[in-house]
Amino acid sequence: MDFNLNEEQEMLRKMARDFLTTESPKSLVREMVEDDKGHSEILWQRMAELGWMGLAFPEEYGATGGSFLDLAVLLEEMGRACLPGPFFSSIVLGGMTLMEAGSEEQKQRFLPLLAEGKVILTLAILEEDGQYDPKSVKLTANAEGSDYVLHGTKMFVPDAAVADYIICVARTGGSGSSGITLFLVDAKSQGLSLSPFITLAGDKQYRITWDGVRVPGENILGEKDNGWIYIEKVLQKAVVGLCAMMVGGAQQTLEMTVDYAKERKQFGRPIGSFQIIQHHCTDMATDMDGARFITYQAAWKLSEGLPCIKDISIAKLWTGEAFRRMTSLAVQVHGTLGWMDDHDVPFYYKRAKAWELWLGGADFHQDVVATEMGL
């Protein structure tokens, strides 16, 4: 048992925190919320230069060969900084799918570009019902010669407007989890049109209409009709990655709030000396430590290749609720100041709710946990 990160991970964390503090300040986050695409190419290239894009891909693809846990450390700092842009979409959702499902040739071709930040990916899973359920995949891909033609709608696709390729989870037959195939689709393909959502947290998500989008058969990722097994694995990593981002956001929320409680005076004393404010802060700290350890446990187990489906769902279940509870208390302790748009607290309040709902809410993960318990 060891609750500590190793020395390299601590260095990575420190470097990431320093870099993001100066290069992704809240002013940039705010600007990117307002921005149509929410993507700063300068920042993107600087992160690529630091090797972050390739951190968790194998060295043979021009990457760093770090572990998933290393990536989680980085994601934690990104969550703390509310980093805008497509890192999660491209590297976690897209890159991990490529790693899981791609052929050696596909990996050779795309992973180096991904690691250099020269190609941006995203992953289109959800449809109208918003459920992470293979039965909900209805977008059809019909073979025409050696090509496939895609018809349907994908919802909530993150960062699609800046993606060069969209990995599309399509139905090539059957129903349920069989008959699903993954296609790597050029985002400039004809028949593919994006319409942006206005999101709670200001991140970029799109409805994508696929109106006869033609994709060469060679762009299938992994085994035809058997694509859902890759998605299951990618979702596991994505969930833990998102938990790591929440842990980072939660840590910053806690620190801001405790600092404010120490400084702000009412009734002639710091509000942090009032028993109920102390209890609010303790509740936040308990949520924080719980979220951190349960997330680290899942990330470490994933990194080590240990079975951890239940651990992952517990991490999401707990961390999603904990981060949200913490941000509510953060506003409460800050008072109306913390409700104002120019304060930092709302960044976290909004992300906590969005991330609680992403990649399966409490209902979804409770069900996974129950099933894993044999219920």
């Binding site: 709670l200 005076k265 009412q266 009734f267 109306t336 409700w339 748009d341 709710k353």
Partner: protein, 385 residues
């Protein structure tokens, strides 16, 4: 004991509904949540004034109807639940009018109450200052009597409703030399006086409900004072009870709950067990809150002054509203984080708006922490030290 409204009250309710059905402008119907505080529509206020529906419980000589506070409850419930944009008269009707009625001069009553009941005067409310939030009595803004006027200097913050207002109802320090509770007065000041600067503040919903207000040597006539000078702290307690006790503390998001139930039914989600239970639980909590709110109105109608009861109702209601908006985003899943005002999106983004607005409920008009202390000490008699 009696837990229904009288036939007259039910007829009154029907009349209000019919009126609102016709008179609420369509742009306010789409998103009815929080329109009591966000919906600015002086035309509607004037029409309500013509119906006699502002200052309903006040004396007839000031344009009131001398109806009971239970009748007023029926009215406010319908206004809040229908999403009527009544903000331009809400503060006047809810708290400023009662404050003037309790402590104002006859002249002030004639001027302000009549203006309020006609729907012609809008008030902003200026309580908090940067260093005086929960500890309101430490406020620093000064209104010093000098000859025929008060000279006002200082700053208010989180001032609500000021940007379209004619007057600001506020508390100020009129005697800087006595202990902090004893040098405070209530004032009503014309917002167009020279030296007043208003700076709107954007909140996390993206709207500009709140403001900073700066007073730079503002000279307000002596009749700006409401009640006794330096006695404001003791006068405002009652006004705060009025501020806290209304149905809006529980029902700002009632339309969202109602429409979510409808959406769930239509979308066939009503057989999803956890959604059923979550909505049933919210309904139960709502019904309990309704009675806590009704109790306060009933006390007022009996000529009793609510005390801890208003604090309890607000504390309960606002916590409920937060659970409500949180639960509804969860029921909507991925759609619970989409804000598009589009028919393609369940509830057209209203759950997101509600979730972003709701943290303010447990802060404004007394934080939940302050209110719980009021219930404990005033209501239960627990000692302060």
């Amino acid at each position: 004991m009696d837990f229904v409204f009288t036939p007259e009250q039910e007829r009154f309710r029907a009349e209000i509904r019919e009126f609102l059905e016709k008179e609420i402008p369509p742009e306010f119907r789409r998103k009815p949540e929080n329109n009591w505080i966000r919906g600015f529509c002086p035309e509607l206020s004037r029409k309500l004034g013509q119906k006699g529906w502002i200052g309903l419980a006040w004396p007839k000589k000031y344009g009131g109807q001398e109806k009971s506070y239970m009748d007023r409850l029926v009215l406010t419930e319908e206004l809040v639940c229908s999403g009527a944009p009544v903000f331009s008269h809400w503060f006047g009707d809810r708290q400023v009018g009662p404050a003037i009625l309790a402590h104002g001069t006859e002249e002030q009553k004639q001027k302000f109450l009549t203006g309020i009941t006609r729907g012609e005067i809008q008030f902003g409310v200026g309580m908090s200052e940067p260093e005086a939030g929960s500890d309101l009595a430490s406020l620093q803004l000064r209104a010093i009597e000098e000859g025929d006027h008060f000279t006002i200097n200082g700053q208010k913050v989180w001032t609500s409703g000021i940007h379209n207002a004619h007057y600001i109802y506020m508390v100020a320090r009129t005697d800087p030399d006595t202990p902090k509770h004893r040098g405070i007065s209530e004032l009503v000041v014309d917002v167009n006086l020279p030296g007043i600067t208003i700076r709107p503040l954007k909140d996390m919903t993206g709207e500009y409900d709140l403001n900073e207000v700066f007073f730079d040597n503002v000279k307000a006539p002596l009749d700006s004072l409401i009640g006794e000078k330096n006695h404001g702290w003791y006068q405002i307690a009652e006004q705060l009870d009025f501020e806290r006790s209304g149905v809006e503390r529980l029902m700002s998001n009632y339309p969202l709950l109602r429409d979510t139930v409808e959406y769930v039914r239509k979308a066939g989600l009503n057989k999803v067990d956890w959604i059923r239970r979550k909505l049933a639980q919210l309904e139960a909590e709502f019904e309990v809150g309704r009675l806590l709110v009704y109790r306060v109105a009933w006390m007022l109608s009996q000529g009793k002054v609510p005390n801890y009861e208003a604090a309890m109702a607000k504390g309960y209601g606002t916590a409920f509203e937060q659970r409500l908006s949180n639960a509804i985003t969860q029921i909507l899943g991925m759609y619970g984080q989409i804000a598009d005002d589009s028919e393609d999106i369940p509830l057209i983004g209203r759950a997101v708006s509600a979730y972003l607005y709701c943290p303010a409920y447990t802060l404004q008009g007394g934080t939940s922490e302050i209110l719980k202390g009021i219930v404990a000490t005033r209501g239960l008699g627990l000692p302060t030290k």
